[in-house]
Symmetry: C2
Subunit: 313 residues, 2 copies
DNA sequence: TTACAATTATACTCAGTAGGTATTATGTCG
DNA sequence: CGACATAATACCTACTGAGTATAATTGTAA
């Protein structure tokens, strides 16, 4: 498959007519026909219904059309951004983050950074905490926001906050009758759902270690790939699930109770390379400091321990 | 630019070595060098620093590398999804939505639909309300979720709910001293920020019409492209902004007050083609009905009028 | 500093393929 | 059914991507 083929197919799908599409693409009609045929051949799927005038799209073609439009748009953006950076000799600040930080301060951090540094290109990449450490060392990212402590001497970690953990409980079960914080011991003998299944170690192990440290043994542990599935299973009364409190808003048809205990938390951690002299690292810290001072909703005392980033006195 | 060039560049960027990359790509080293040169030529930007061993990425190259990875991944997904649909003769349900429905029931609707119909491919496309009507008629989407009434006889609209409007007010200004609902008249003579600038007609016109209908004339109207900018300007004390209540959660450093009055609402509307016999339309309505019965948080009485979709008696 | 090993760029050739032209086949509509 | 519009096929040409041989450059170690 080839970008040219995508462009050609988009042309035909838009015009619903090979001849007109060929004109707009500045080629003759026969080569256009052949390229579309080649595309269909490679996919092993018919994209167009030709024994009909005007030509119609198959269901597969309809899907492929929208996807192709998006890919082509993405390529254009990529080209433009690369030129911008290259021609202006700008630098790139590449930020890795775990999905759960999207429910915290990340979006507004990125907005603030973009606003304050229009001369650099900010790139955000979703990745798990464990992947962030090698990504930092290889230079794929400059800053990471994750939830896992690590022991790599090449990477500094700064704990930004300690978010309290919440237990998601199926409605109409005994534990859901109360809304008071739940002692960790109450999880003994319960079915537990845990995520993500991989990569390991991950947040799942944080939860399992916490229980283990309190000598709490669930009846059964089921691992799933993502939090959405986990909460779905909770709603289906398959078991309980321990989540960071900010993830409560993801689903409203289950019952939530805070987990009791000083240690029942998950940190949000900022990573960066040791000895990274880029001024942007300090800028990020600066902006984070300001954001924490504003007392945003994701920093509520109810869902966070009263710790603060070490650089934010 | 060509997908082959992206694959080649990714190879070199990963290996930081032309020779090894060429081996893994199953080509000789010279053609690889030339393709990379051609890519850099077309972009007009250096992606690699060659007078260094191992080869390093420039800032532009670093950006391009991650973007290329994502584009290639996207292409693979596209190929797989198209094959899935084509080979199994599945159908595609294509859903258009305005961004603000992301703060309402859309994500969970899509999840539920995917779960209940594993045999169809669900595709979601973000687009403004006005664009959804032609998209429906052209068959680009089958279902739309928007906020605008229309008068096209080919498209049915079903008002799902009437969401109350909220005024975003800069902190520490007189209007922000109270949290009670604000009469529409209070906007007289105020500076107003309105979004989106285009396409017209859009939500901006809804707000302007509402004011006009109450003979309220703001001192000044500033149009911006998106809600984030609008709220940013509010925070910067540039003026007030009227938003759907569900958008409150986007920003916490401004003050919010409900707008008073029966008509101070913005609908959430389901569109589909007249006479669309697909069983999936009914399924969608069915699922929406269930969701509304569950009283999700985005349906709170505080932020919505007590109307319900006509099919959900 | 020099020489050698490793690695990338250049020169040249060949083959595959994209595109063009001419023509045939197929569908649509009066 | 016939005429027109439109897509597919056949065939040719030219370009471009890939291979081989070789030169140029970089890093390193004596």
């Amino acid at each position: 498959m080839d970008l040219r083929q995508l462009r050609y197919f988009v042309g035909v799908a838009r015009e619903r007519n090979f001849t007109r599409a060929a004109q707009q693409l500045n080629i003759a009609q026969p080569p256009l026909s052949r390229q579309i045929q080649a595309l269909e051949d490679e996919l092993g799927v018919a994209l167009l219904i030709r024994n009909s005038r005007p030509v119609r799209l198959t269901e597969a073609g309809r899907l492929f059309y929208e996807q192709a439009l998006q890919v082509l748009g993405r390529v254009d953006q990529m080209r433009a951004a690369t030129r911008r950076v290259g021609l202006n000799q700008n630098s790139v600040l590449s930020i890795g983050f775990v999905a759960s930080t999207l429910y915290g301060g990340l979006p507004s951090l990125v907005r603030k950074l973009r606003h304050r540094t229009p001369d650099i290109e900010i790139q955000v990449l979703e990745m798990m905490s464990v992947q962030q450490i090698p990504a930092l060392k290889e230079g794929r990212i400059d800053i990471g926001f994750g939830r896992l402590h690590h022991s790599d001497s090449g990477v500094v970690e700064i704990v930004l906050r300690e978010e309290r953990l919440t237990v998601a409980i199926p409605r109409d079960t005994p534990l859901a009758q109360d809304s008071a914080p739940l002692p960790i011991g109450a999880l003994t003998g319960q079915k537990l759902i845990v995520y993500p299944k991989e990569p390991r170690p991950g947040y799942a192990d944080q939860v399992l270690n916490l229980l283990h440290g309190h000598d709490v043994r669930p009846a059964e542990v089921q691992e799933v790939r993502e939090i959405q599935t986990a909460l779905g299973l909770v709603a289906a009364e398959t078991g309980l699930c321990v989540i960071p409190s900010s993830a409560r808003q993801m689903r409203s048809d289950v019952h939530y109770r805070l987990l009791e205990g000083e240690r029942a938390t998950s940190p949000v951690i900022l990573y960066h390379r040791v000895g990274d002299t880029s001024p942007y690292i300090d800028l990020v810290k600066e902006v984070i400091k300001e954001m924490y001072a504003e007392n945003p909703p994701w920093l509520s005392a109810e869902h966070n321990l009263p710790t603060r980033p070490s650089f934010a006195e």
